[in-house]
């Protein structure tokens, strides 16, 4: 498959990735058959990760590694979660993508990688206080379309 990102885009991303702080590991789940965008999604993630030494992609098969997928709460493919790498173990923040992040979502992905690397959400104090007070799980599903 030809490269998905051209040199101009790569250079732009490299520049914003210059400020990356802590390592991030993308835990990617694909599957062999019946998956329209698995190959593209995996390639896109690998091309992005190659632009910074703070980023890594780990490729899993959702059927073979079903237990790990369940642990992350991942149910379909292609999908991935952005984890923080801390002294050899991974911290899952529950930031998941289901489907290929193209168009606007590609920008969201780059921003999320920067956010997870910084380990800071950028939310207001009031929102963070509310989130810290939570007693019950909150599952947000943000539906988008490729643009």
């Amino acid at each position: 498959m030809p490269e998905l990102l051209n040199d101009e885009i790569k250079n732009q991303i490299r520049e914003v990735f210059n400020g990356l702080d802590k390592p991030v590991q993308v835990e990617y789940f694909g599957k062999e058959n019946d998956c329209d965008y698995c190959a593209e999604t995996q390639q896109l993630l690998e091309e992005v990760a190659a632009l910074s030494d703070r980023l890594e992609v780990s490729v899993h098969d959702i059927d073979v590694d079903a237990a790990l997928a369940a642990q992350y709460g991942i149910e379909g493919a292609p999908s991935f979660t952005l984890t923080g790498k801390e002294d050899g173990h991974l911290v899952d923040y529950g930031v998941h993508y289901l489907g290929i992040p193209s168009g606007h979502e590609f920008t969201s992905l780059i921003n999320d990688l920067i956010m997870v690397s910084s380990r800071k959400s950028g939310l207001s104090d009031a929102t963070r206080e509310f989130l810290k007070s939570l007693k019950d799980p909150v599952h947000l599903q943000v539906f988008i379309t490729p643009t």
Binding site: G94, F130, D136, P137, V138, H139, Q141
Partner: protein, 68 residues
């Protein structure tokens, strides 16, 4: 938000690839945020505080003070 709390999971869902899921929640306009399997719904991009209020409602908590 997911970053700030281990209790929060945030999925970005590509509606065409996960059509069944999108149909289950009657997704039409995007972005459409579904809170806790449909207890709350937010259509459109909204300010942070608005989403927090919707989450509070979905959890059965009183809304934040007016003007917040």
């Amino acid at each position: 938000m997911a970053m700030e709390s281990p209790l929060v999971q945030a999925d970005m869902v590509e509606s065409y690839e996960f059509q069944e899921l999108a149909e289950r929640y009657g997704v039409g306009g995007v972005p459409h945020t579904v809170i806790n399997d449909g207890l709350g719904n937010v259509v459109g991009a909204v300010p942070e505080g608005y989403l927090v209020d919707e989450i509070r409602q979905a959890l059965g908590q009183p809304a934040a003070t007016p003007g917040d």
